[in-house]
Amino acid sequence: MRVDPARIKETGMRERTLEEWIGMAEEVFKAGTLQLLLTGGEAMLRPDFIEIYEAIARMGFLLVVYTNATLVTPEIMEVFRRYPPHKIGVTLYGAENATYERLCGMKDGFDRVKEGIERLHSLPSLLDLRTTLVQDNIEDLQKMRAYAKGILEDDAELHISRFVCKAVRNGVCHPEEVRLTPEENVQLNYPGVFAFHEKMEKGEVRLDLENLKKITFRHSLPKEGYLFSHCGAGVNEYAIDWAGRMMACELLSDGFTYPFEEGFEKAWERLPEVYPQSRVPEKCRDCPDAAFCDTCPANRLAETGDWFGCPDYACREAAYFHQLLKDMKIV
């Protein structure tokens, strides 16, 4: 993760202060927000993370912290012991120091992450391990899975991010240069379908009703009406970024209200109005793969700059997924 301070300066935006964040937490608390997620980037990078965290933790939210676990200091652990988050999500970027060096520029990255996770694991918080897979860390997947299995409770497994989309809100990295191919991504996200397809190709299994039950896939076509009615963004959840912009979903680069300027209540009330009404994009109307497409408005916007654009990546995913099912004579 790299930040370009010059670019932030150019935008004229600024990080909100400790007092501003605590004031905003009080506002959202009064308005009835139940679950609050602190995430980044990396929230622990803020020098006043402990002060912000403690003030928020005392209020009474269901508190979730997402972190890369490299900055879990004794001071942070001290406040976490007094006020444990309900859940901590740690993102793994690999299972080897060499992978962390390649991906994050941190030579002892995995050692530091393991140390951080060990500390966090001593808390009563629910621990969740997740990863974002790209070409540079895909080889570590089995090791990451094994590591997660050894740590997580109740047979929970490593969670893999469904999408790696292009950078949003002027981010300076280029995930599209390192992400998996659409076909690899389908294989990862629908392992049951892919494994079955492989076995069928080898003649090891045949399709019958019993096998069909093991295969699940999603149909998702945009519906008319509120843009995010399929996921609840802007209906029962929102995000506020480092600069204080409110948005329905953290993946958005457009469609903001300004709670620090106009007050939380007004910003929340106004939020659905800043998005266009949903409609089925022209190209999707007659697309034979549309029923197998898993994209969403946020993803369309991030990938194409258009709320109703068709990301080439998503089209390839849908076509490949459709082909797998056709090969198996399911569709």
Binding site: L34, R58, H86, P124, S125, L126
Partner: protein, 94 residues
């Protein structure tokens, strides 16, 4: 049981979310429970009394007054609930 003071242990915050009363665990409460407890109106009344600290008798009296139930019924319900809350470490008794 009559003279003892019962008090919430500070591990839960009472909140109103979309018209519903809920307890959210914080601090030491998270070690016992990582979630939300939904309260019905009588439980909410009881918890409010426990936030300040009260005897079982006072809690039962308040409940009987607010919900128009027989004092004996209220006393029985309060005692059962206090026992359950003590077992779960959600309140203290002195």
């Amino acid at each position: 049981m009559q003279d003892k003071m019962y008090k919430s242990n500070g591990g839960y915050v009472l909140r109103e979310i979309a018209g519903e009363a809920v307890l959210v665990s914080i601090g030491s409460g998270v070690a016992d429970f990582r979630g939300v407890v939904k309260l019905n109106p009588t439980a909410k009344c009881l918890w409010k009394g426990l936030m300040e600290g009260a005897t079982a008798e006072k809690l039962a009296r308040d409940l009987a007054e607010e919900f128009d139930v027989e004092p004996e019924t209220a006393a029985g319900d309060v005692n059962n609930t206090l026992e359950m809350l003590l077992e779960r470490g959600m309140i203290t008794c002195e």
